[in-house]
């Protein structure tokens, strides 16, 4: 009898301390959820840094993870429109449906840039709500962290104070780091660069760098020889300091242009896991800034 009671109590205890299951759509939000949740959360990340976040498939393993998730943390602003709605509808999980507390969009916590005044598919893969690649501005990470910690606290109220104190600690460290990065990156201000896709806009915006061209003729349209040649002509008149691309982009077009324009081709991690050093959010920014500084030296 006593043994049974002990087992029952243990079971109840386990239930009460069951960790929050979090399915993060992209690596940056997985890393942030780990920063805030510590050992009170199980985090699974749907995409890696080497995968194009627009083109993830609702593969079987993701449907299984979505079925068991208490919280889904995504970017929103239609970045994941090709696959997140499928995960929601095929998971049989009412908690993670849009509008429920178990579905969190980072875009809801920040204001987006490059909001198009009109949209049409002839403009390429434009996002009507604005540019969704918002995590490369550290101020956005801070805003999302505060909102996400509150969401985690409300979903798992027994651990609310734990999430809040971790969030305060993270935000304090993040503030110091942001100040350090801004100081380090001061020489990058005003520097003209060519990007691959519009996924670095927040980074350039934050550091005051200038985008003078994109390898994609239109967002989401792969670089064509004709467009690259045009870009090369343009660079002869108005030179850029570097050609930037993200870890998941095809290196060939960027290297082709950089070689002919005689500027460095710089690969940036884009998100956590994109390079060896980008192990967490701090590493992501450290490595991004160092690579930019080294590239344009």
């Amino acid at each position: 009898m006593r043994l049974l009671l002990a087992v029952l109590l243990a079971a109840v205890g386990l239930q009460a301390h069951a960790a929050l299951n979090i399915l993060a759509c992209t690596p940056e939000w997985g890393a942030l959820a780990k920063e805030l949740g510590g050992d009170k959360v199980n985090v699974y990340t749907a995409a890696t840094a080497l995968q194009d976040p627009h083109r993830i498939e609702a593969r079987p393993s993701l449907i299984a993870r979505a079925r068991n998730a208490d919280l889904m943390v995504c970017t929103g602003a239609q970045l994941e429109i090709g696959w997140v709605p499928l995960l929601q509808s095929q998971s049989g999980n009412s908690k993670i449906q849009t509008g429920q507390p178990g579905y969190f969009e980072a875009a809801s916590a920040v204001s987006l840039i490059e909001k198009p005044t009109s949209v049409d598919r002839s403009m390429g893969d434009v996002h009507p709500d604005g540019n969704p690649h918002l995590h490369l501005d550290p101020r956005n990470i801070a805003a999302v962290a505060a909102a996400l910690a509150e969401r985690m606290a409300s979903l798992d109220s027994t651990q609310a104070s734990y999430y809040r104190s971790r969030s305060q600690d993270f935000l304090a460290r993040w503030k110091d780091a942001t100040a350090r990065w801004e100081k380090q990156a001061a020489p990058l201000k005003g520097m003209p660069v060519v990007v691959y896709h519009k996924d670095l806009s927040y980074l350039l915006n934050w550091l005051g760098m200038r985008e003078v061209g994109a390898l994609e003729p239109k967002p989401g349209i792969p670089p064509s020889t004709a467009h690259l040649s045009e870009l090369l002509e343009q660079l002869k008149k108005t030179p850029a300091k570097a050609v930037l691309r993200s870890a998941y982009n095809d290196p060939r077009p960027a290297d082709w242009l950089a070689e002919r324009a005689r500027v460095p081709s710089v690969m940036l991690p884009y998100t956590v896991g994109g390079t060896e050093r980008a192990k967490d959010l701090f590493g992501l920014y450290d490595d991004t800034i160092d690579r930019l500084l080294a590239g344009v030296k």
Partner: protein, 415 residues
């Protein structure tokens, strides 16, 4: 006296109206103050999207398709030798230029508990067909999902996928012979996902049986039912896979079998399916490979009637296909498919003169090659070549060019 009383009532009404007005005014004052306070406290308001009454409009998308085809045999005479005619749209596309089905897809959440979707197909001969019209629950809890209405059955791998998302223009031979192209019934479906990290999906459907292999029985209860189970997961970061087993049972009555012959009895079909996708580091945008295959096995037992003469009929038939599609650079893909049917054992008390099609001991097969170009995920142009030996003693050489364009709301990429 009466006047006095009336006056009193009138006065009371006016008075109460006046006090009510005063109350309302002070309430308005209070509210104004509160709004002002709130305005001071709150940050700059974010402008709400100005969409007005259109905000709740469902997502609408449209798929346009068409083909230009050339074949050495007449598609109007198409049949699969050795197999009962399935009655579906199984013939190769018409020769020359022809419009394919234009699909209009309308979907939306109905309320927090239901989601609805309509897929209407505008056929090239100017009729409208309801391909799908169903409701579905996004989550009943504990991994259960319910779907009802007309929808593509979840048996096999390719069955629930719409034609515009197929990797070849037409269905594999086993789909043509055993399901009339696909199973699309008026039914209810219950699906359950196990709480595991590996995908384990179990489900059942009960339907009216409005088409092949059933015959719309016009009776209370289900005329066709299915069971299906799928298991899937990842192998490392680069490979994703899914495999499954499905079962279908129907009891057709007077189903046309051959010229002048009909079948009544029991029909059951097993399908084993497999799909795997590979991309370097799981990044499918540059290169990727997809391999899929399905094996079908059908048994039918019952009575055959030919010109009012009854007879027995029993068959064990099978078929399979395997295909692979390789994206060798962004936008460009090539693919190859081989499909084959095995006539198996068919026994009947009728003679092959009475049942020439069904009793033809012939194993149909086909080779298909395709190459397609997709400038964006919304457009695709495909070239397809086939050597089709569906008809005994005849090789049909087919060439076709197909376009598929999607307009409107962003479609989702099903696995």
């Amino acid at each position: 006296m009466q006047c006095n009383w009336l006056c009193a009532v009138a006065l009371a009404t006016v008075c109460s109206a006046a006090t009510a007005q005063q109350d309302a005014q002070s309430e308005i004052e209070q509210l104004k103050r509160r709004v002002e306070e709130l305005e001071k406290r709150a940050p700059a308001p974010t402008p709400a999207p100005a969409r007005g009454s259109s905000a709740f409009n469902p997502d609408i998308s449209l798929v346009l398709q068409g083909t230009a085809a050339r074949s050495s045999e007449n598609p109007d005479d198409y049949q699969v030798s050795g197999f009962a005619p399935s009655g579906g749209e199984v013939a190769p596309p018409r020769r020359g230029f022809s419009l394919g089905e234009s699909e209009l897809i309308v979907s939306s959440n109905i309320d927090p508990y239901f989601r609805g979707q309509l897929v209407a197909s505008l056929t090239p001969d100017n009729s409208v067909e309801v391909e799908e019209a169903f409701f579905q629950t996004p989550g009943l809890g504990h991994g259960f999902m319910l779907k009802g209405g007309r929808f593509l059955s979840n048996i096999g791998y390719q069955n629930p996928i719409h034609q515009h998302a197929w990797d070849f223009q037409d269905a594999p031979l086993p789909y043509k012979a055993f399901l009339g192209g696909r199973l699309d019934d008026d039914a209810v479906q219950v699906k359950w996902l196990a709480p595991t990290d590996l995908l384990v999906e179990l489900g059942a459907e009960a339907g009216r049986g409005r088409s092949f292999p059933a015959t719309d029985p016009n009776r209370n209860g289900a005329g066709l039912w299915t069971l299906f189970g799928h298991v899937g997961g990842d192998i490392g970061e680069s490979t994703a896979w899914r495999t499954g087993l499905s079962y279908l049972h129907a009891e057709p009555t007077d189903r046309p079998m051959d010229v002048g012959a009909t079948f009544s009895g029991r029909s059951s079909l097993w399908i084993a399916d497999f799909i795997a996708k590979w991309a370097p580091n799981g990044n499918s945008s540059i290169t990727n490979v997809k391999a899929q295959g399905e094996y079908f096995r059908r048994s039918e037992d019952g009575d055959l009637t030919f010109a009012a003469t009854p007879g027995a009929y029993s068959s064990r038939q099978s078929g399979w296909y395997a295909q692979t599609v390789y994206q060798f650079m962004p936008r460009w893909r090539v693919g190859y498919r081989y499909d084959r049917l095995d006539h198996g054992s068919v026994s009947s008390s009728l003679t092959s003169a009475q049942l020439p099609l069904v009793l033809a001991d012939y194993n149909p097969s086909r080779h298909t090659l395709m190459a397609d170009w997709s400038p964006t995920e919304f457009s695709r142009i495909r070239l397809q070549l086939a050597e089709d030996k569906s008809r005994a003693g005849v090789t049909d050489r087919q060439v076709l060019v197909q376009y598929i364009f999607s307009l409107g709301a962003h479609g989702a990429h099903t696995f």
